[in-house]
């Protein structure tokens, strides 16, 4: 009897060490990232953190001088700078409005694009285009053209180029639409603003959700079709099987997409604060720029933590830990 239990406990201990050993192997898998972080990025982050408490001057003969000034940079940004707080508030507001719409829209489109139909490949390819445009290089090229156009007011621009500018800026000419609605339907200004805002937003949402759609689309492939088949046999409607099967199984990726959308709206090219940080940096005011970046970073991190914690309560993982 005792022999048996000893053997059993021995086996248990060996098992434990075996899984523990395997868990330690996890370090091998994450080692590229950890090594890279220590070798390259730790220094950069520390530098940036130090700069935010310093006045940094770039010297003309190369190199830079630094002077410790305590919290002055932060004080300057938050208390003296007239724009920063306002821009920060706007950025947060935009993010809170946009993210639910973007995530819901992209899940919806991904489910549609996952269904069998004619021309699916073409549609998938079209909805992939916003991913390419996300780096903003095409936008940059467009933008420079349109700025030049406005600057030089060259005649003959109302041909193709004007159409390009119009379409690059948004499908609907905002003011025209508003005027039209005032005159034709006698709407109240508030209603007109909401309607036009929504219409403008469709364009934004469509062009900012390419990445999310692709992530969802790949995630949907991990859901075995046999689950749907058995649900159908049991009499599950499409609506039910979406909420009972697709939604829980895709929920880990919903969390990813929420986080990505937050980051995208915070760091995207259209964000005013990012523009300010980079332009301040180009002016050579590294101290101020670093302080701005850190404030901004902390706010974004706070949102990600809060939203991530709330969302992760609803995320369903197939493996219990």
């Amino acid at each position: 009897m005792s022999k048996w239990s000893a053997a059993l406990s021995m086996k248990k201990r060996m098992n434990l060490t075996a899984t523990k050993k395997r868990d330690l192997m996890g370090w091998i898998f994450v080692s590229p990232f950890v090594l890279g972080f220590i070798l390259l990025f730790l220094g950069i982050f520390i530098d940036s953190f130090r700069f935010s408490f310093m006045e940094v001057n770039v010297l003309s003969q190369g190199g830079y001088s630094e002077k410790f000034i305590g919290m002055d940079n932060f004080h300057h940004i938050l208390r003296i700078d007239p724009y920063f707080n306002r821009q920060l508030y706007d950025a947060v507001q935009n993010m809170i409005f946009d993210i639910p719409i973007i995530v819901m829209y992209s899940l919806f489109i991904a489910v549609l694009l996952n269904q069998k139909m004619k021309g699916r490949a073409i549609f998938r390819a079209i909805f992939f285009i916003p991913v390419i445009l996300a780096t903003g290089i095409i936008d940059k090229a467009d933008m420079r053209n349109s700025i030049m156009n406005a600057y030089q007011s060259i005649p003959g621009l109302d041909t193709g180029i004007a159409a390009v500018n119009e379409s690059a800026g948004g499908m609907f000419s905002n003011l025209q639409l508003k005027k039209y609605m005032y005159q034709m339907f006698d709407f109240s200004p508030a209603l007109v603003n909401i309607t036009v805002g929504a219409a403008e937003n469709i364009y934004n949402v469509v062009n900012h959700s390419g990445v999310q759609i692709l992530i969802f689309l790949a995630g949907l492939q991990a859901i075995s079709s046999s689950i749907y088949e058995s649900a159908k046999i049991e009499g599950c409607s499409g609506w039910e099987s979406f909420w009972k099967i697709t939604f829980p199984l895709i929920s880990p990726l919903i969390l990813v997409n929420i986080i990505y959308s937050i980051v995208d709206s915070f760091t995207g090219g259209k964000n005013q604060i990012m523009d300010r940080i980079t332009s301040t940096m180009k002016l050579g005011q590294y101290g101020t720029a670093s302080a701005m970046a850190w404030i901004y970073f902390l706010v974004a991190a706070l949102f990600i933590i809060v939203i991530g914690l709330i969302a992760s309560r609803f995320v369903f993982y197939q493996n219990k830990e």
Binding site: R22, D23, G26, F29, V30, P32, F33, G36, F37, L39, L40, F41, I44, F45, D47, S48, L112, F123, R124, A125, I126, F128, I129, I132, T135, I137, I138, A141, D142, M148, Y151, Q152, G156, L157, D158, T159, G160, I161, V164, M171, Y203, V206, N207, L214, I215, A218, G219, Q221, A222, S224, L253, V256, I259, T278, M281, F297, A301, I304, Q318, E321
Partner: protein
């Protein structure tokens, strides 16, 4: 008694008729319903696709217009004198094929490396319970949050005077300048710090967490080692997600201007020549170079951006075939 007996078949017949009627009606409803949804789906998808495509279609039609057509206000969408002139000019003046091959090499390398590394790190974070996992995961999320613009200068310095803990200077006496070579991108990719690599790691981690463990455990029980299991079982399962990540990093490296302008200032790349634009270009028969903002200048830029986008779309059309159920092929059913 007899009335009932005589009535029974009639009633049965009536019931059958009724059933058939109902079934017909039901089937019709079913088909009408399906047709309705199919039409709605196409309407929605085509409408949204139009929103995405419209700017590109305008660019496409413009790219076939001759210089006269561009100035002519009556020409819209359909070029009157269709010409290959814009394409020829772009090809001739940007050494397009050279920069295409350069861009392809760099994008393919960083795409493949980032795909493998991020899958590995994501797997490590999803499946192993080692100490410090929480910290590593937090760092991954942080790296997504911090935009590369904010540490641009430090990064530039790191690769201009490349040195690992003074080891390099001890060996070769001085740091190495890695600019204008593949190395900066390769190093960034291998350590998982390329463009948006934190996102890829996060995607893979979440993806693995959503996949049942049974298959791996079966492999372990059968005596398969850790890396063998990873190569033979994990990678096939996650194929569709890996393809997606490869597409992301390939497409973003292809159109990237941030790292390209920082690391490859001397190398000809598609993105850098697009951003250089066509201002000041001397065309044959003209005495002046192209002015910025001129219709022709803008159209040349647009033509070039179409030429940059097209290979990516073709790549995606091929790759999306692999966006099929990966898990189905791996043998877990139910």
């Amino acid at each position: 008694m007899s009335g009932v007996q005589a009535g029974a078949p009639i009633a049965a017949k009536g019931k059958r008729l009724l059933n058939e009627k109902l079934r017909n009606k039901y089937f019709k409803l079913f088909f009408v319903n399906r047709l309705f949804w199919a039409i709605m789906r196409y309407l929605l998808l085509i409408g949204l696709a139009f929103l995405i495509l419209y700017p590109l279609l305008v660019k496409l039609s413009n790219s076939f217009m001759s210089a006269q057509d561009l100035i002519d206000g009556t020409v819209r969408f359909v070029p009157r004198q269709a010409t290959w002139f814009n394409y020829e000019t772009v090809f001739k003046h940007t050494s397009f094929l050279k920069s295409l091959s350069n861009t392809f090499l760099i994008s393919f390398m960083s795409g493949a490396l980032q795909m493998l590394v991020c899958t590995m790190v994501g797997y490590g974070l999803a499946r192993f319970n080692f100490k410090g996992k929480g910290i590593v995961f937090t760092l991954v999320v942080l790296t997504i949050l911090i935009p590369p613009q904010t540490y641009m200068i430090s990064l530039y310095m790191k690769f201009s005077f490349f040195d690992i803990f003074g080891l390099m200077s001890a060996i070769s006496g001085g740091s190495i300048r890695l600019m204008d070579s593949m190395w900066p991108m390769a190093i960034l990719s291998i350590i998982g710090f390329g463009f948006k690599n934190g996102l890829y790691i996060l995607i893979m981690r979440q993806y693995f967490k959503g996949i049942p463990k049974e298959l791996e455990e079966a492999a372990y029980v059968d005596g398969s080692g850790l890396f063998r299991t990873f190569a033979r079982i994990i990678l096939p399962i996650s194929f569709s997600m890996m393809i997606t990540i490869f597409i992301f990093s390939f497409a973003w490296q292809w159109t990237d201007s941030f790292y390209s302008s920082m690391f490859f200032s001397q190398l000809k790349l598609l993105s850098s020549s697009l951003l250089m634009g066509f201002e000041g270009l001397m065309l044959e028969g003209n005495t002046l170079g192209l002015k910025p903002g001129q219709p022709l200048t803008a159209t040349l830029t647009n033509t070039m951006s179409l030429l940059i986008i097209t290979p990516l779309i073709i790549l995606y059309l091929f790759a999306q075939k692999y966006l099929v159920e990966g898990i189905e092929h791996s043998g877990i059913v139910g």
